[in-house]
Symmetry: C2
Subunit: 208 residues, 2 copies
Amino acid sequence: MKPLSSTARTSLGRLKDRAQTERSALYDVLDEGRICHLGVVVDGSPRVIPTGYGRSGDTLYLHGSTGATSLLAEEVCVTVTHLDGIVLARSLFHHSVNYRSAVIYGTPRSLIDDDEKLTGLRAITERLAPGQWDVARLPNRKELAATTVLALSLEEASVKVRQGPPSDDDEDYALDLWAGVLPVQQVLGEPVPDPKLRPGIPVPPHIG
Amino acid sequence: MKPLSSTARTSLGRLKDRAQTERSALYDVLDEGRICHLGVVVDGSPRVIPTGYGRSGDTLYLHGSTGATSLLAEEVCVTVTHLDGIVLARSLFHHSVNYRSAVIYGTPRSLIDDDEKLTGLRAITERLAPGQWDVARLPNRKELAATTVLALSLEEASVKVRQGPPSDDDEDYALDLWAGVLPVQQVLGEPVPDPKLRPGIPVPPHIG
């Protein structure tokens, strides 16, 4: 696999030790997330909206119907963040968070070809609701036409990771204070059936 | 409380029924989050970075030392998103997510006054690590000088919420498919002590 890009904006100026340079680190962050935050410039102002995404190889697919049609053929920034822990240090200054984040820059293509759109939607669905692509009713022509799917090349990206215990100033270790990490996790609960679910349909194994 | 703003970009063009207009809805979303995604325009391109924040009254405080010093006195967009569930419909087209999100626009002030900086840092700390402000070592002058805190007025903001079961097309309810919601939650784990923790210091009650 080729390494991650090293353009000025993807080479971290600060806290360089948190930067990951392996492409696999990018895939790891992306393949564990459920939503991304999509940044666009609208009339010169920044706009950040949450949306679904999926990855297939070196392409990131974005669900683009989030009132974001203005962003077609414009540069975007896509950020996926996992908050892994709250780092409780002895000094407030060294409080921090454990996290993994990926930041991707590029100009997405809006998909026109139906097959490519389906490929993108499948990747997005597999990320958010694995297994559903194989069982739910597939999009018909009209639905496909009403859905915007963007494809973004994973050319220019950076990954930052902080893990582990707090890093306090030497003299603060003598303080009579607890320090450590409070882990944070995103978990799935028990499936809640649709009130309109027909009787006798069990929860399928891929759901829970 | 005054209502939320209704500028063009905070009045939702699409899916208007998801918009909340009460200011309290904004506070609810903000007061339950741990990180925000901060959007800025750098050299004409969008950039989205995760960072800590906190609220006090009608002011949002942002931890600005995330390599984002270039954003001082520039317009920003701050987005806080809670993913609450994955909505599994009978058709792929109606798959969705349950979420609560807040989008805030404005030009932040970089705080200079030490007291105001401490107020902002306290709000940020209380959001991420409640109770720690009262026990951990407070920032000294040098640390305070090295910390950038931004204050953003909560003047222009929008809140979107989707909750509840899937909404399928009428004819799809006859399909022999499970449908419902898979709840998603962010949970805290058991505190992990710093390996360098002095012996005999118990986990304080406000932590876990």
